[in-house]
């Protein structure tokens, strides 16, 4: 049995005096899996994602990602963790409008201290891989939604993360662009990239993930795994 990439044990999080955003949640994600977190608005799925990303801390329970106890990290530790272990893709891309596509993509590597030439080479590879190398010098504002999300994915993969987290990656896209992103994530997973996608979009969940976790009122209510696909994914990861 391979070591889990994500291991949540009895994780709870409550904001102020409201009801728990997440209650006693436990979840294990193994390398090569593509997991969709599904749930209605306010169900706790974004809280779960923030806890995995080290953007928030649980009130109780443990969060371990790729061997790192994320719940114990301080601000600086969290930053270093995000830099080295995860890549994030957001619903509204969160690209910096003042930077070119390449500059956006190299940003995590540059923050990690990678030399500019090496970072540029890696960015060029990723942009080519994702089919947007012709936009390398363009500013995000000139790209379509799908293209922007590809840039965001390229940026997320820049530091070769163990885990790719996507928060509603197709939520701001039209159908065609959404399908494009879905295919991209499927391809990445096929290459062995572990992915966790938070989404409302059932079609996206079905098309690009091999496991579906449902959350309602802060509790995990369902965890369904597509066995055949999952086995393929794990085998692919082992082969890497």
């Amino acid at each position: 049995m391979t070591t889990p990439v994500i291991e949540l044990r009895g994780v709870s999080r409550r904001y102020d005096d409201g009801p728990p955003a997440l209650h006693e949640a436990s979840l294990t994600v193994r390398p090569g899996e593509a997991v969709a977190i599904l749930g209605p608005s306010g169900s706790g799925k974004s809280t779960l994602l923030n806890l995995i990303a080290g953007l928030d801390r649980p009130d109780s329970g443990t969060v371990t990602v790729d061997g790192v106890r994320v719940d114990r990290l301080g601000e600086a530790g969290s930053a270093l963790y995000r830099r080295s272990k995860i890549g994030m893709v957001f619903q509204f891309f969160n690209l910096l409008d003042d930077l070119t596509v390449t500059d956006n993509v190299v940003l995590p590597a540059r923050l990690a201290g990678m030399a500019r030439t090496e970072a540029d080479r890696r960015a060029a590879e990723l942009l080519e891989l994702l089919g947007i190398d012709r936009h390398a010098r363009a500013y995000p504002g000139r790209l379509s939604g799908g293209e922007r999300q590809r840039v965001a994915v390229a940026r997320a993969l820049m530091n070769r993360p163990a885990l790719l987290l996507a928060d509603e990656p197709t939520g701001a896209l039209d159908t065609a662009a959404g399908q494009d992103v879905s295919r991209l994530l499927t391809g990445l997973n096929a290459e062995g990239q572990t992915i966790v996608v938070v989404t409302h979009d059932l079609a996206l969940a079905r098309s690009c993930t091999n496991r579906t976790v449902r959350i309602a009122d802060g509790r995990i209510t369902e965890d369904v795994r597509s066995q055949a696909v999952a086995s393929d994914a794990v085998a692919s990861q082992a082969a890497r």
């Binding site: 928030d56 995000r82 080295s84 003042d98 930077l99 500059d103 940003l107 540059r110 923050l111 500019r116």
Partner: protein, 784 residues
């Protein structure tokens, strides 16, 4: 509370930092303006009032009685340009001796039958005017302590006349030390001495040139060389005002700096509030506020803290004025000087009007903004600013956070300009204050003449157990020759000179001057020359600038010293910086006075020890020989303390601190707005792995360029301001300042001053940087 009032109140509450910045900036400007304005008013008021009331003489001229007759002088009253004249009055210089005391200082006595009316109406402060021989009216400014009924003897004169003090009076233009009836004058005038005094008022007398022209006109018809001295009312006025006038130029400088800074900061804060509150403006308009109401809401948000700052500024101005006005009160002997209410009102109205106008101009855009656009634009800053700079940053061989910070000013150039201006003014103030402190130090050094390693001060007169009142005064025991012999015999004595002080009068001037007579070469003693050269032979003298101004003499001219055993004529060869005794001093060689004043007892001795000599050991050894002579040596120069310098330094330090605080707050405001505007961007960076330390570095770096540029510009501008204000301050006290006082900056000092701009910028950016570093990434990412 009206809806608009609620909007204003919530705006003030929401923008606490901006509110604080506006309040402090306004307070600083108001405090400096109240102080400067009040001193400007107070400095001239007492003299001008008295001059108008007493019809003061624009010019008093002293004539040689042996060369011109009273009849000739009377004709000068009809000279064109003379509106009225008084005289001729007989004058004489005599040395009095009050009852039982040693001889006093020489005094100018004028024979006048009455206090006058149209010109120089002498104000009687006590008693009455002299009506017959044997009576004398003393000037309140006399060196004798005026006491009614006191007997004053003149034992040096033939017959040894004794006069009784019957009145105390004051001439606004100080035309005499005492007055007697004209019939008394022959008894007070030694054969071959004495003069005539003419007092003139001119139709045009506002400038020195007009006074000079008037003086030439009235003497044109008289034989050449008859006028031996003159005194302009402008000189007397300047002397009367100098204690407060010295503060005015530098307070005007600080007031102007504060006002400009205040306007810039208010404008910037309101413009920023409009810029970052676009969505709020949209909502306000959507719920029904008219454009005028929106503008009023933003003007109100600026006026509330400005009003509080103004109130505190008025209070601070009054408190800061206390020590300065106290000095002036001492000069005029009054306790009535205070800040005129109209100065307060004018400053309050002016500053609040300026703030309102600035805020209105900045808020005008908010009123004109289309509601739909305001709602659509929201709070997010538009992209596209300084992209070239961002791309450049990407290519810089620097860590990414530093590069991102460095290019930030190019993304928001207007905001960077506003922050830079605040830093610029802070740097100007610091540079100016450092320079002024150094310049005042140089003036004090020149005043102290402290180049000597060891000083044997002149012995104080021994008044005995009854104090300085009437009674036989004991002569100081120390014999200067014996002290000199002990000094010369001491091992380790290098250069050495002694300085004796005697009092004398100068034709045309009332009161006494100090004549400092040197034995030995005193040129190394720390005397700072303004022009000309030091004395190198008997009969030569150097004098301070106020002496030249008061006598109208120039380098190369001769002046006659009266009141000694015989008149002594000296040629002025140099102008020296020395503010002591209001600059009324003459420095000459002791041999110049050999015949006129052979007994120089009030002597100090100044010694430079040979290299390698231990000063403490030298002083101890020398004192063993000096104790029997009733004097003692001490290390170092003379006391250089001055209340005015302490007050000036304290005032400028306080005002500078306030300006620097306002500048730092201006930066804080700018960086805070910037970080709030970029909160999502910062969130993205943090989500991608930017550590808190990197975040702090990025925010701090964003002000580095601005701080460095503003610092680099502020230092030369501060030097220029210093170059303008210092000579003006010197002029206000009648001093011409040499290069050693005005050129006080050197390269080693300028670099840290320039880096001061960076320090101000960093101080201002620290708080927002910490805030940016602490912002929760998840929260930042949700912010739109």
């Amino acid at each position: 509370m009206s809806a608009l009032g609620k909007v204003v109140r919530s705006g003030v509450g929401r923008r606490r930092v901006q509110t604080l910045v506006i309040g402090l900036a306004t307070m600083m400007a108001v405090a400096a303006c109240v102080l400067g304005g009040s001193l400007l008013v107070v400095s001239g008021a007492p003299f001008d009032d008295a001059f108008a009331r007493q019809h003061g003489a624009h010019l008093s001229v002293q004539f040689d009685a042996g060369k011109v007759s009273a009849r000739q002088l009377s004709k000068s009253k009809d000279t064109e340009g003379v509106s009225s004249a008084a005289g001729p009055f007989r004058t004489t210089t005599v040395t009095p001796r009050s009852e039982g005391a040693v001889p006093g200082w020489p005094m100018t006595v004028v024979g006048r039958g009455d206090p006058g009316r149209d010109v120089d109406e002498v104000a009687l402060l006590d008693g009455r005017w002299a009506t017959r021989s044997g009576e004398i009216v003393l000037s309140a400014n006399s060196s004798l302590i005026p006491t009614m009924g006191m007997k004053i003897a003149f034992p040096d004169l033939s017959g040894g006349p004794t006069l009784t003090v019957v009145g105390v009076a004051r001439s606004v233009t100080q035309t005499a030390d005492a007055w007697v009836v004209p019939s008394q004058m022959p008894a007070l005038t030694a054969p071959g001495s004495g003069g005539h005094q003419m007092l003139y008022r001119f139709t045009q007398a506002g400038t020195a040139a007009q006074i000079t022209a008037g003086g030439k006109a009235v003497t044109a018809s008289l034989p050449p060389g008859t006028a031996v001295g003159e005194q302009s009312w402008l000189t007397v006025r300047k002397t009367a005002e100098r204690d407060t006038a010295v503060y005015v130029p530098f307070l005007i400088a600080f007031g102007a700096l504060g006002l400009v800074m205040s306007v810039l900061i208010v404008g910037n804060v309101v413009a920023s509030a409009v810029g970052t509150g676009t969505r709020r403006i949209g909502i306000l308009k959507a719920v029904g506020l008219t454009p005028a109401q929106v503008v009023r809401a933003y003007v109100g948000q600026a006026l509330i803290p400005a009003a509080v700052g103004t109130a505190l500024g008025v209070l601070a101005g009054h408190l800061l004025a206390v020590p300065v006005l106290a000095e002036t009160e001492q000069v005029y002997g009054t306790s009535s000087l205070g800040i005129a209410p109209w100065v307060d009102l004018a400053v309050i109205a002016g500053v609040l009007g300026l703030v309102a106008a600035t805020a209105w101009a900045s808020a005008w855009r908010a009123g004109r903004m289309r509601t739909v656009d305001a709602l659509a634009v929201g709070r997010t800053a538009s992209a596209g600013h300084g992209r070239w700079a961002v791309r450049l940053a990407g290519r810089l061989p620097l860590p990414q956070p530093l590069a991102l910070g460095l290019v930030r000013p190019f993304a928001r150039p207007a905001r960077a300009l506003a922050m830079g201006t605040a830093i610029l003014f802070g740097t100007i103030a610091v540079t100016f204050t450092v320079g002024m402190g150094a310049s005042l130090g140089q003036v004090m050094k020149a005043k102290a003449h402290d180049a000597a390693d060891v000083v044997v001060p002149a012995p104080l007169p021994d008044f005995g157990p009854q104090g300085p009142g009437p009674g036989p005064e004991k002569q100081p025991k120390a014999d200067p020759a014996a002290v000199a012999a002990a000094v010369e015999a001491a091992a380790g004595t290098g250069k050495y000179y002694s300085a004796a002080t005697v009092r004398a009068t100068v034709s045309g001037l009332t009161g006494t001057i100090d004549v400092i007579a040197f034995t030995g070469d005193a040129s190394w003693g720390g005397y700072t020359m303004v022009a000309g050269r030091w004395i190198d032979r008997p009969g030569e003298a150097v004098v301070p600038t106020p002496f030249l101004a008061a006598t109208g003499a120039r380098i190369g001219d001769t002046v006659t010293l009266n009141g000694l055993a015989e008149p002594v004529t000296v040629r002025i060869v140099g102008e020296v910086l020395d503010p002591r005794n209001d600059g009324m001093q003459v420095f000459t060689d002791a041999s110049t006075l050999t015949a006129a004043h052979p007994d120089l007892t009030e002597t100090s001795h100044h010694i430079a020890v040979t290299p390698g000599t231990d000063v403490t050991g030298y002083v101890t050894a020398l004192n063993r020989h000096l104790v029997p002579l009733d004097v003692s040596a001490r290390a170092g120069g003379l006391d250089a303390g001055s209340d005015m310098v302490v007050t000036l330094n304290a005032l400028s330090a306080t005002l500078t601190l306030m300006l620097v605080a306002v500048a730092a707050l201006g930066v804080l405001n700018g960086v805070l707005l910037d970080t709030r505007e970029r909160v999502r961007e910062i969130g993205v960076h943090k989500a991608l792995g930017m550590t808190p330390r990197q975040t702090v570095a990025m925010v701090l770096t964003s002000v580095v360029v601005t701080g460095l540029v503003a610092g680099a510009l502020g230092v030369p501008l501060g030097v220029v301001l210093h170059g303008w204000v210092l000579p003006a301050m010197g002029d206000s006290v009648g001093l011409r300042l040499p290069g050693s006082v005005t050129a006080v900056y050197d390269g080693a000092e300028l670099l840290p001053l320039a880096l001061g701009g960076l320090l101000i910028a960093t101080l201002g950016a620290l708080l927002p940087a910490g805030w940016a570093a602490r912002t929760r990434t998840a929260t930042a990412l949700r912010t739109e």
